[in-house]
């Protein structure tokens, strides 16, 4: 397993989930796997933060859930992006890019 695991800054997890769900409906485990794969095992989302986050996003109306059948034929809860979630993703992404750019500029300037 990866050695270089990083704690996610506040709010980043939500953004990662929204981005992952932008590709299509997924269940919780697949979301975590996907993030881990894409980040080359750097970002590893713990179950303990993933699910509360999913429920929080659901409550905010950015994602919605339904029960479906997984690839191995088990009942699984699938999440998908809502319209307002899509908007939120754009907003969040913009904010993130601004933030990282600014942070990078500061770091390099010194």
């Amino acid at each position: 397993m990866p050695s270089a695991r990083i704690d996610l800054p506040q709010g980043t997890l939500d953004l990662l989930i929204l981005r992952t769900l932008a590709l299509g409906a997924q269940h919780g485990w697949a979301i975590a796997e996907r993030v881990q794969q894409v980040s080359n095992n750097v970002l590893c989302i713990q179950q303990g933060s993933l699910y509360p986050a999913l429920h929080r996003l659901e409550r905010r109306g950015w994602i919605k859930a339904h029960w479906g059948t997984s690839e191995n034929n088990r009942r699984a809860k699938y999440y998908e992006l809502t319209k307002s979630g899509d908007k939120q993703l754009a907003v969040g992404k913009g904010a993130w890019e601004t933030l990282t750019l600014a942070v990078a500029q500061v770091l390099e300037a010194i």
Partner: protein, 908 residues
């Protein structure tokens, strides 16, 4: 926003489902992870260990998820309820006392309210009852009369643009119904063909009486109850023959179970077409006399109700029907000419009569009028009782609040919001009140049933459905919640204001000044309310005593009464006379019987005949209304039997038979009004309004005034005539004066009657005392209930006082110790405690006395033989309250006296 609500909503009401879903979701995740590790080549054991290391406790995650979904008000309530239940389990004694106190208060209110609901509020169980109106006429001579004549009814039926239906009916009272060869007394009525269709009541079996039956078909509709109870619910009942008052009818249908007729409190068993009144009440069918109900315009025998067309109000209806009514009245006035009734005032009475149309959806008003005042008095009494119960529970909660201050302070320190704590305390209150409410409904259901069993109207039991309906349940729920808010508010408010500084074990001795002030106010209010209740109850009880000890003009003990109706068996008039004589002789011959007689109306049986007599040589002052007298027909030796003093002349005897010279006896009041100063013996009178009898009766006696119907009313001028010398009434009531206990002679009397004619159905056998008691039933009911509520109130108030004083003494143990150490004597200490208690009592009394006097004024119409400011009653109530209060303080005071100064000082 919406999804937020939805998610929260789901988590509120489907809490278990949500938890399960989260559980399932996490299980799925673990399963996936497991598979992943297995695919990567780990053994199952290794995979499991790995997973356990990676993921923390599942419970924590679940709780975090729940938290993320948000919790709210309802979940708080669930929490509060669970917490409250725990509190209740920890203090079962307290909980039981509170719940019982509340159950008494709420139960009493619910019981009285369900009676009010049944008597005053419930609509008739018919289609759109709010469209129904009842007709009545206002006459200058007789006041409001709700009866109309048959000719009037026929006129009104033309007014079809106002009414979609118009119905008429008349009560037949007791009828003798033979079914399956067995005769029994039932309650009957005659109805117009439009009766059932106007009401929108259809038969559950067969059909109802229709306009086609108006010409007098011999058909009968029976009630559901009659069908089930008397005919065993026979499914083939339609077409069956029954015999009503010796006249054959065939049953055509059964009415629905909820239908009882139009008079709440009464249950009609059989209904037959209107014209059959002539067959069932032969005395009504004297064609061409004022007793012929079907043709005579002045015979107001029928009650009329109409169903208004949509958009028509009662006022519009009255205006539209007024011309028809006027024509009818003018015709009536003209029709008087040549009849015995004809007189200028009677004609004017018709011409000036006014029609009234009033709401009829709740049925006829008789029962409402009779019981509305007493029921509202009782409602006020139980309302006060509930307030006292509230104050009582509030004091208990305040006392307990002392012990909970630390808990509250601790929770405040731990970050609970005050509003949240308040919600918790109110929830506790509402739970207590709801428990009290549920118990109260059970209590009320039982109580209102037995209350109704005690109610009588015109001597017959009242049949009402007091089953709690939605309105009653709503009322109970509403007063429960209101009660909770009332009694929980003050303690909750006070507790929540608890200083956080009290959290670490600091005793709140110095903090209780405000609390004890509130408590004292509550006790004072309880004492005041109890006093009001007691004075009210005392006034009613004393009125009842006055009524009971009143001498009615005859001796009430050792008289047995029973009704005989020979006409129901088809006896002719001479046969009836012979029968009554034989019965009298047969009973007189029994040992232990002093005298037997009979009368058309027995005392206090409700309903006396009225007549307008003509007295020879007496001319009423011009312009004054005609003389109206009570009229009764009697058997021989009636006054001897009842022991009414004969002031002049003689009693009727067996010689005053049909062919003998006609005689009459008058009462003192009539003698005084007409013959003031001169002897009436030998003067003559006639009573043409009584069945058109124009013959002259010679006055042979004057008897003392005797009350006939209502102890409160003055005795009316009265004329008595021998039964045999006038129209023989359908039924008479026998009165048997016994040497000893009247009830004990009943079997022998029954046996004697059966020997004369085995087919005679006797009814209403009871002692005269019982009959008198029955006439006072309403007064007794209200007085005893009010008394009961008064006693409950005093008990509650004194329990409250005891609790507070006991608490005060235990709190002041230290102070008492110091006082004793400083030389106070024990008796002074007791005086100190008593003074504190009596201060509250006196304040309560000072507050209560004016309120009680005002209450007395409001109740004035219910009082008899005493004024609204009866000093005896007030003194008694004040005395009783004081004595009970002193008793309640006795224990705390003696405990204060027994305080050991040394121990008390060391205690702190």
């Amino acid at each position: 926003m919406f999804s937020d609500l939805r998610v929260r909503f789901r988590s509120l009401f489907r809490s278990t489902t949500v938890t399960q879903e989260i559980d399932e979701e996490l299980q799925f995740h673990l399963g996936q992870q497991m598979e992943k590790y297995l695919r990567a080549g780990l053994t199952p054991d290794q995979a499991k260990r790995r997973i356990r290391l990676e993921f923390g406790g599942a419970t924590q995650i679940k709780e975090d998820c729940q938290e993320a979904r948000g919790i709210s008000f309802v979940e708080h309530i669930e929490q509060d309820v669970r917490y409250a239940m725990r509190m209740f389990r920890r203090t079962p004694g307290f909980t039981v006392v509170v719940v019982i106190t509340l159950a008494l208060g709420i139960g009493a209110n619910t019981a009285v309210f369900s009676l009010i609901n049944a008597v005053l509020l419930k609509m008739l169980p018919v289609k759109n009852p709010e469209q129904l109106v009842q007709f009545s006429k206002m006459q200058p001579l007789y006041g409001e009369i709700d009866g109309f004549s048959y000719p009037e009814l026929e006129r009104f039926q033309h007014e079809t643009r106002t009414f979609s239906g118009l119905l008429a009916f008349a009560d037949l009272g007791d009828v003798n119904v033979e079914a399956n060869g067995r005769g029994e007394i039932a309650n009957g009525q005659v109805v117009s063909g439009s009766y059932f269709s106007t009401l929108g009541v259809s038969a559950i079996l067969g059909r109802t009486i229709s306009p086609a039956d108006d010409q007098g078909s011999t058909v009968a509709v029976i009630s559901y109850k009659y069908w089930r109870e008397r005919l065993a619910g026979d499914p083939a009942v339609v077409g069956k023959k029954i015999v009503i008052n010796n006249y054959p009818f065939s049953i055509i249908g059964v009415t629905p179970p909820e239908f009882f007729g139009l008079q709440p409190g009464q249950a009609i068993d059989v209904s037959v077409p209107l014209k059959m009144i002539a067959q069932l009440r032969p005395e009504y069918a004297m064609i061409g006399t004022p007793y012929d109900v079907l043709t005579w315009p002045t015979r107001s025998a029928f009650l009329i109700m109409g169903r208004l067309r949509p958009g028509v109000t009662a006022t519009i209806a009255a205006a539209r029907i007024e011309p028809l009514f006027r024509d009818a009245m003018n015709e009536e006035a003209r029709g008087l000419a040549g009849t015995p009734l004809d007189s200028q005032p009677e004609r004017e009475n018709r011409r000036q009569a006014r029609l009234q149309v009033s709401a009829g959806g709740r049925g006829l008003a008789a029962l409402r009028e009779r019981f509305s005042k007493p029921l509202w008095i009782l409602m006020a009494a139980v309302g006060l009782l509930l307030l006292i119960a509230c104050a009582n529970v509030a004091t208990l909660l305040l006392a307990r609040a002392q012990f909970r201050q630390h808990e509250m302070a601790a929770r405040l320190v731990l970050g609970a919001r005050r509003l949240r704590l308040m919600q918790q305390l109110i929830t506790e209150g509402i739970l207590l009140a709801l428990a009290g409410g549920v118990l109260g409904i059970v209590l009320a259901f039982w109580a209102s049933g037995s209350l109704m069993a005690l109610m009588r109207h015109m001597g017959t039991p009242i049949v009402l459905s007091v089953q709690p309906d939605l309105r009653v349940l709503g009322f109970t729920l509403a007063i429960s919640v209101l009660t909770a808010i009332l009694f929980a508010w003050i303690p909750a408010h006070r507790l929540v204001r608890t200083d956080m500084g009290l959290a670490p074990n600091v005793h709140g001795a110095g903090k209780s000044a405000g609390r004890s002030h509130t408590t004292k106010t509550l006790i004072t209010l309880q004492v005041a309310a109890s006093l009001v209740l007691m004075v009210g109850a005392g006034l009613l009880v004393r009125s009842l005593q006055n009524l009971k000890s009143f001498y009615p003009g005859f001796r009430t003990d050792n008289v047995l009464l029973f009704d005989v109706n020979a006409r129901l068996l088809g006896y002719t008039v001479p046969q009836t006379n012979a029968l009554y004589r034989r019965l009298t002789d047969q009973i007189d011959a029994l040992p232990g019987i002093r005298r037997t007689s009979f009368s058309m109306n027995s005392p206090f049986s409700g309903g006396f005949g009225e007549a307008s007599p003509t007295i020879e040589g007496y001319q009423p002052a011009s312009g004054s209304p005609p003389l109206i007298v009570d009229l009764n027909t009697l058997g021989p030796h009636y006054f001897e039997t009842l022991e009414t003093p004969i002031l002049l002349g003689r009693d009727f005897t067996g010689d005053d038979s049909a062919n003998a010279p006609k005689v009459a006896i008058i009462n003192q009041r009539l003698a005084h009004e007409i013959f003031a100063g001169t002897s009436p013996i030998g003067r003559r009178l006639s009573i043409p309004t009584f069945a058109g009898d124009k013959s002259w009766y010679s006055i042979v006696g004057v008897v003392a005034d005797a009350k006939s119907e209502d102890l409160r009313e003055a005795v009316k001028p009265t004329i008595y005539v021998p039964t045999e010398q006038t129209v023989v009434p359908a039924g008479v009531t026998f009165a048997v004066r016994t040497a000893k206990d009247a009830a004990a002679e009943a079997p022998a009397v029954l046996h004697a009657v059966a020997q004369v004619d085995g087919r005679l159905s006797l009814s209403g056998m009871k002692t005269l005392n019982d009959q008198m008691d029955e006439s006072l039933l309403q007064e007794r009911l209200v007085a005893s209930l009010a008394g009961l509520f008064g006693i409950l109130a005093v008990l509650l108030a004194s329990v409250g006082l005891y609790g507070v004083m006991a608490y005060t003494v235990s709190r002041k143990t230290n102070e008492i110790g110091i006082r004793m150490a400083l030389g106070s004597r024990r008796i002074q200490i007791a005086g100190l405690v008593l003074r504190e208690a009596l201060l509250m009592v006196v304040a309560g009394l000072l507050l209560g006395i004016p309120a009680a006097l005002a209450t007395g004024r409001l109740m004035r119409s219910q009082l008899y033989g005493l004024g609204p400011y009866d000093p005896m009653t007030v003194l008694f109530a004040v005395g009783l309250m004081t004595v009970v209060a002193v008793l309640a303080c006795y224990l705390p005071a003696t405990r204060a006296m027994r305080v050991d100064p040394m121990a008390a000082l060391r205690y702190e």
